[in-house]
């Protein structure tokens, strides 16, 4: 291996340039924005470049800056900062311009008209992700990296708050559904919270059991593996007759709303899926603990309970947290199914949108799911890193 750091910077060039190339292709490609005379009509597709007029040139210029900087021999710090700012500016500019195209189009074509973000816009977002991913490799300070990587999110929030996007299709779907949106969002988060909590309790217990009593390991993981493999819809289908029967026989279940459809099967299915990653990581963490450390703790007179609570769990925590992170991301995406079986949540918008081919309504459900998943993923990754650093001071 030749000078790893230097070659890493050189390699980032290729990635940044391909990000810029994708960005330019997306700006010139036909499906940048989709204009419709009403929310479910077949749309007329326009390229971002032609829709934005002079700002289209600015969009392409952003990508040109990224490409030229990547190929230049400018100082790494400058390449990193300016490159990622230009890459981050491109989708923000596109979104802002899409907002003003939407405002003009609705004025001209009437209030029923819709402007949706097309494939070209989403490819611009992907290009920005690729280019920023490459450009931040040129930056040493993680604070600067964080600022340039998350800056575009702040800019989008500002655009939303300013009202510049209020004519855009997805924002109008939100405005029409604001009350329902808050309710379904809360419900979605509740599904994730309850099922991951149940998964955490069961996963810790089963993972610990498998680590302490190796004879139980094949049984525990064999059973969890079966649950993991069941298709979501078929799993809910299998529960349907059982839960329907239970709610008929036991009044208490019926009173709290346990039915074949609704929240009950969703919570059961999501909890079952959440157990596996947590149990697997708990088991892996506990079997890899140094016996010497535990012996030492026992040697200074600690009982089994305090060894577990004060030595073993803290040492295993980062690995268990990684499992918890997987479970959280999975449940956030998985809870979409509740919308299909009368359980509510953000999936409601997705399935309603799917039946009407209203992409903006689908996105109103999907984007918050993706944002939540990302927030859980990044948030817990930060906690894992912090825990690991705190345990092993460099």
């Amino acid at each position: 291996m030749d000078g790893p750091d230097l070659s890493l910077h050189a390699r980032a060039r290729a990635v940044a340039v391909s990000g810029a190339a994708l960005g330019i292709a997306a700006a010139l490609g036909p499906f940048g924005l989709v204009l419709r005379v009403n929310r479910i009509a077949r749309g007329e597709a326009v390229s971002l470049f032609s829709a934005f007029g002079p700002w289209g040139v600015a969009l392409v210029a952003c990508w040109a800056i990224v490409a030229v900087l990547a190929l230049s021999s400018a100082p790494l710090r400058m390449r990193g900062i300016v490159g990622s700012l230009a890459a981050g500016a491109a989708p923000v500019l596109a979104l802002w311009q899409a907002g003003s195209v939407a405002a003009r189009y609705t004025l001209q074509a009437g209030d029923l008209a819709r402007v949706s973000l097309g494939a070209g816009f989403w490819l611009t977002v992907a290009a920005s992700y690729i280019a920023i991913f490459a450009a931040t490799a040129w930056l040493k300070r993680s604070v600067v990296r964080g600022l340039v990587a998350y800056g575009p999110f702040a800019a989008v929030a500002a655009l939303l708050a300013s009202g510049a996007l209020s004519s855009l299709g997805i924002v109008r779907e939100y405005a029409n559904n604001a009350e329902a949106f808050a309710k379904q969002m809360n419900l979605h988060v509740a599904y994730v919270g309850v099922s991951v909590l149940a998964g955490l309790v069961l996963g810790l217990a089963l993972g610990l059991l498998a680590a302490r009593k190796p004879a139980t390991e094949p049984v525990v993981f064999g059973a969890l593996n079966v649950l993991q493999v069941l298709p979501t819809l078929a799993f809910i289908g299998l529960l349907y007759p059982v839960l329907t029967d239970l709610s008929r026989r036991v009044d208490l279940f019926a009173a709290v709303g346990v039915h074949g459809v609704g929240w009950a099967p969703v919570v059961i299915v999501l909890s079952a899926y959440a157990v596996y990653p947590i149990a697997r990581n708990t088991h892996a963490a506990f079997v890899s603990l140094e016996p010497a450390v535990i012996d030492a703790a026992r040697g200074i007179g600690m009982g089994p309970a305090s060894v577990l609570a004060e030595v073993e769990l803290p040492l295993a925590a980062p690995v268990i947290l990684a499992g918890l992170r997987v479970a959280l991301v999975q449940s956030t995406a998985g809870a979409i199914i509740a919308g299909l079986v009368g359980g509510g949540g953000l999936g409601t918008f997705v399935f309603l949108g799917a039946s009407e081919t209203a992409s903006d309504l689908i996105l109103l459900g999907v984007l918050p799911i993706v944002a939540l998943g990302l927030a859980f993923d990044r948030g817990l990754t930060a906690v894992e890193t912090a825990l690991t650093l705190w345990r092993e001071p460099a």
Binding site: G222, N225, L233, I336, L340, A354
Partner: protein
């Protein structure tokens, strides 16, 4: 320990045989399966989903998963191999990062979003499942080839193998368990997720399940759910290279 290993192998193959027989029986013996559904849901007045016979639904399910998996093997294999070349190595970390990012997008949402481009039917499902599987395949190809010990690689070069020859004759065979692990996951996930294709009218075993939810008919739901579960478990067992708890 050989007797323990033999025992595990016998249990594994017995499981595969039972699941395979159950899947085939439910799919092929419509009358017999209807009798089972009648026993499970005696209060219904109709037990088999009327629109399509189960054998067609099963064929659609298998076709959706097979088409998506094959496309993903080719694309993911190429992407993984590309990410290991001198030029492509720069994209390695990007593939890793994008693969974890893709987890946050629900499969069925991607299917629904593709409908304006592809129309309703099998196309959005095949495209969505393929897009989903490409990165995990690439990831396993990268992880598998990187797991080959450097000594082995050096030895291969030492006896005069070229890069391509080393890849085909040494690295790929050694990486196979890891790659096959990824292949198994992708196939099992695809055959499971294909059930959701019913949402965009792609056919498959999800059709009777959704119809059952719609009409409150337990029998339709079970008609789709039982074979879907048997098929997923069968593939999971059949494609397992080694039992999970065997690997230390």
């Amino acid at each position: 320990m050989p007797s323990e290993q033999t025992r595990q192998r016998v249990v594994r193959w017995a499981g595969i045989a039972v699941l395979g027989a159950a899947t085939a029986w439910m799919t092929l013996d419509a009358r017999g399966f209807e009798r089972l559904l009648k026993a499970l849901a005696p209060h219904e007045s109709s037990w088999l989903y009327p629109t399509k016979p189960l054998v067609t639904l099963m064929a659609e399910q298998v076709w959706l998963a097979t088409a998506a998996s094959l496309l993903a093997f080719v694309a993911g294999g190429l992407l993984g191999a590309l990410a290991l070349t001198r030029f492509g190595i720069a994209f390695r970390d990007l593939v890793l990062s994008a693969a974890s990012l893709a987890q946050t997008v629900p499969t069925v949402a991607l299917m629904a979003l593709l409908v304006p481009l592809t129309g309703y039917g099998p196309e959005p499902v095949i495209v969505a499942l393929t897009l989903y599987s490409v990165l995990p395949i690439a990831l396993n190809v990268i992880a598998g080839i990187e797991s080959v010990p450097p000594e082995v690689r050096d030895a291969a070069t030492g006896i005069g193998m070229g890069r391509l020859q080393r890849l085909v004759r040494v690295e790929l065979p050694l990486a196979m368990p890891v790659i096959m692990g990824g292949v198994k996951n992708v196939v099992v996930i695809n055959v499971s997720a294909a059930t959701l294709g019913a949402v965009v009218a792609a056919g498959g075993l999800g059709m009777p399940i959704l119809a059952g939810f719609h009409d409150y008919n337990d029998a339709y739901i079970l008609e789709g759910a039982l074979p879907a579960i048997a098929l997923a478990l069968l593939l999971d067992r059949a494609l397992t290279v080694r039992p999970r708890w065997d690997v230390r």
